[in-house]
Amino acid sequence: MSVRNFALFVLLGSVMIGPAVEARVKHIEMRVEGMT
């Protein structure tokens, strides 16, 4: 595999995997009652 093809492979891989990794719960806020 040429350097150019390898670079293209890495680039496409990061484009496809990147957004999936970033999908997540970013923050949770709760209001609770009965706390002392």
């Binding site: 997540r24 949770i28 806020e29 709760m30 706390m35």
Partner: protein, 132 residues
């Protein structure tokens, strides 16, 4: 309660405000957090949750029952409670588009002092923060 919540999987930081009863949970960046487990841990610590809101980024998918859901992990999604805002996201179902939303996952039923934690949660979208 702070210790109970801090021990749950995927939790990085817990901040508790005793004055207004507000609890902020920061998930780990590389971990999976389960809001239902947080509700149970809160219940087990002896206090009741009045509301739980989450900010999450994920994809809109169609679920098996004909509704829609926000998928935040390959094995974790929240069914969307239909409202005006959820309707504006339906066209993104099963596309590669990502959305970031603020939504309510739980609200205590009126009249009950300390109800059992729910077994299933649905997400009522309050604000669509980003579509990408």
């Amino acid at each position: 309660m702070k210790q109970h919540l801090g021990r749950q999987a995927g939790v990085q930081k817990v901040e508790v405000n005793l004055i207004d009863g507000k609890v902020d949970v920061t998930p780990k960046e590389d971990g999976q957090i389960d809001p239902a487990q947080l509700l149970k841990a809160t219940y087990d610590s002896g206090v009741s949750t009045a509301e739980m809101d989450i900010t999450a980024r994920g994809r809109i998918i169609r679920n098996g029952s004909g509704g829609f859901a926000l998928q935040v992990e390959p094995n974790q999604s929240f069914a969307l409670a239909p409202n005006e805002l959820s309707k504006t996201l339906e066209f993104l179902a099963d596309t590669p588009a990502f959305v970031t939303v603020l939504g309510q996952l739980y609200k205590k039923p009126p009249g009950k002092k300390k109800p059992e934690p729910p077994t299933s949660l649905s997400l009522t979208i309050i604000e669509v923060q980003k579509k990408e």
